[in-house]
Symmetry: C2
Subunit: 417 residues, 2 copies
């Protein structure tokens, strides 16, 4: 099976909107074992869209069409496809009912334009839209299956997860169960991870293995095809074991969670609290943990001590220490972590001090970072990192390393090297 | 002139990499007055790439080809295009010299694979690559102009700015000067901004007007076509005046800067310092300002006081105040700003306290935010906002509103309403 993805909208080709759907659907297709060969974006123009569909029909077995299902005159996707396939559109009572419910909820009459959204392919199926007025649609002709999805991301993604993925699984094979596992890795680059698993990736069959670089960290996705859940688990087990034997120390999550979610979960389970003392990251580590709902249970707060004056004044780092070792040093990181834990009376405190760039200071190189971790009743440890990248990149990595170090500590009860 | 953009790489169609180049180049083409009708992504496959080029040749006058200029066997773009156009590639001495310089700098021999990067179209021109080994290329045949650009964003964008935009301006008209002005707006949505300028947008000719939504805020781009810089300025003046009359209060920058860059610039010019007290934003406002190089000159630091305990312990907010008015209140915001300014001995202090969600607390609605601004020798003011969106969105907007409020204060010497 060969797939391609078409995104429809003048806002895409004019540069108003970034197309993320092709990226998302390609990942999902990869997971389902369906190769994608082309992405196309085209404006809201019936002739151009017809040409794009004609070409797709000639070269693909599965065609996604995203966008252009709205109520306006510009929304042409369904109508152009129906014309090209010479397939009839009919008013669907269930789709109409869904529209009515939405507009009753809004205390409005259905605008006359919106009625067209209740029309579906007579020889097709519809996908329920939990978050909007336009149903998703599918129709097959000449052994080419079309899947039409609404443009707004908050509608497309839930529809894909709830309806389209199961539909495709049935389409691909009536009996197969497809199971995904997404593992979160940190502290190892995508290429290093792929290299360490190179033979497994080269010889993959079932489960398949793929890596995806995120802004921070890497996702390793295993996909198993099986007749039932139990068989899927049996297929995962040896591969997972081998992956963990090689690179397990970099894995912070067996689900697709962020580092901050994992750290929040661990602290929360154990009823522990944390505070931060940040210099070069300027509050980013603290902020990241507070993006998790409920984080006030575990984050008491933190200090951003961006200047030496404030390191002394607010975090009680001795002036002597700053003069002798500099603000970017083992000693300063240790004082910051210890004093902050005491001031905030928390179980843990993390400190971060370093050179984010763009210029070296204190005669120390850009990217040098010290991270301190204080724990109630334990010896405070300090870690040295040498990071690469732009100023923002170094800040982002340093904040995440601090969270990663805390996660390793809580998980192992002892320190990583 | 009709343009289209082709991005080449298996990592694109397999969902490993998000295509941002098509988005970027479409914006640039729009600015140059060249409409883009199609985006296509295709893998590293010579036959598929040839088909895509053949189609583009039949329907466009200007074709961008991004990626596939690297040294590996997978990198096929130049070779496939040369074959399709029946145009010769020749070794270019300047390009070879550039390669040599790069590898001398790396203390390496030129790998044999890389030599192919010094081959250019005999009947074409090359664009110098300041950040990598692959030069950009252009060649014209059958009145179709191809522009080949390297895939890495850190190479493509500087090359576009330095060489390709001027090349296109010459191509479009020997005499025209094109001038862009990007204005940064905050506190007004893209649709509201467009509505307030609707007649100007509808009747645009020269200069043109376009709006682009950013993660935070909106860019308004004016583009003037003129015979010289002076004429461009004359063309801008009346339109700029009218835009400012209507929506000037939302404009924080007449260049495409971020809010934090503008605030840093203003503080820096006046030798003023700032500190922060953040509750619901968890350090994000402080962090944003520290992303600007040199920010230690103006940011002394801040407190993240995420719990009531810490608001009292570290920021001296009276327990009575927290009990009587709650942590999300005018009074708490005022204490936080005042006390932080005093503790950190800064010229300004900003405080942020609010309900980021996902649930309401203290009987107050999600999105309610209080921002305090203390200034040495002035009355402290407190602003109330009601924001919408996810938890992360509310945090991001609240942090940016704090910076916006500070920017307005410094600029006007007095407060916005």
């Amino acid at each position: 099976m060969r797939a391609e993805i078409i995104t429809v909208g003048t806002e895409l080709v004019s540069g108003q909107t970034l197309d993320r759907h092709s990226y998302y659907l390609s990942q999902e297709c990869y997971t389902l074992g369906v190769p994608v060969y082309f992405h196309t974006s085209v404006g809201d123009n019936d002739k151009q869209l017809m040409d794009v569909i004609r070409l797709a029909h000639s070269r693909s077995d599965l065609v996604f069409l995203c966008g252009g299902l709205g109520p306006t005159e510009d929304d042409l996707t369904k109508e152009v496809l129906a014309e090209f396939l010479a397939e009839e559109l009919i008013l669907d009572p269930k789709a109409l009912d869904h529209l009515k419910q939405i507009f009753i909820h809004r205390l409005e009459e259905i605008p006359s334009n919106n009625y067209k959204q209740a029309y579906v392919f007579k020889n097709g199926t519809l996908f329920h839209n939990l978050h909007g007025t336009a149903p998703g649609l599918t129709v097959t002709k000449d052994q080419v299956t079309y899947i039409l999805l609404p443009g707004p991301p908050r509608e497309l993604k839930p529809m894909f997860e709830a309806s389209v993925r199961p539909f495709l699984m049935r389409l691909l094979s009536q009996k197969s169960v497809i199971r995904l596992k997404d593992y979160g890795f940190f502290g190892i680059g995508e290429s290093s991870l792929a290299e360490k698993l190179n033979d497994l990736i080269q010889n993959q069959s079932n489960p398949t293995i793929a890596t995806y670089a995120k802004d921070v960290g890497v996702i390793l996705r295993l996909t198993a095809y099986a007749t039932d859940e139990e068989e899927a688990e049996r297929l995962f087990a040896p591969l997972e074991e081998e992956v963990f034997r090689r690179v397990g120390s970099y894995c912070y999550s067996k689900q697709n969670e962020s580092l901050e979610e994992v750290v929040f979960g661990l602290l929360s389970q154990q009823n522990k609290t944390v505070a931060f003392a940040e210099s070069c990251t300027g509050g980013l580590a603290t902020h990241l943990l507070t993006t998790v709902p409920g984080s006030s249970k575990v984050v008491k707060g933190g200090l951003v001590c961006y200047t030496n004056e404030i390191k002394t004044l607010m975090a009680n780092v001795p002036e002597d220490t700053l003069n002798k070792y500099g603000s970017v040093s083992f000693e300063t990181a240790k004082y910051l972590a210890d004093n902050t834990r005491q001031q905030f009376t928390t179980d843990y405190a993390l400190s971060i001090t370093g050179i984010a760039g763009p210029s070296a200071t204190e005669g120390k190189p850009i990217g040098l970072i010290w991270i301190g971790l204080a724990e109630r009743g334990k010896v405070t440890r300090v870690y040295q990192l040498q990071l690469k990248g732009s100023r923002k990149r170094i800040q982002l990595l340093a904040a995440n390393y601090a969270l990663f170090i805390l996660q390793q500590r809580i998980k192992k009860g002892e320190l990583m090297q």
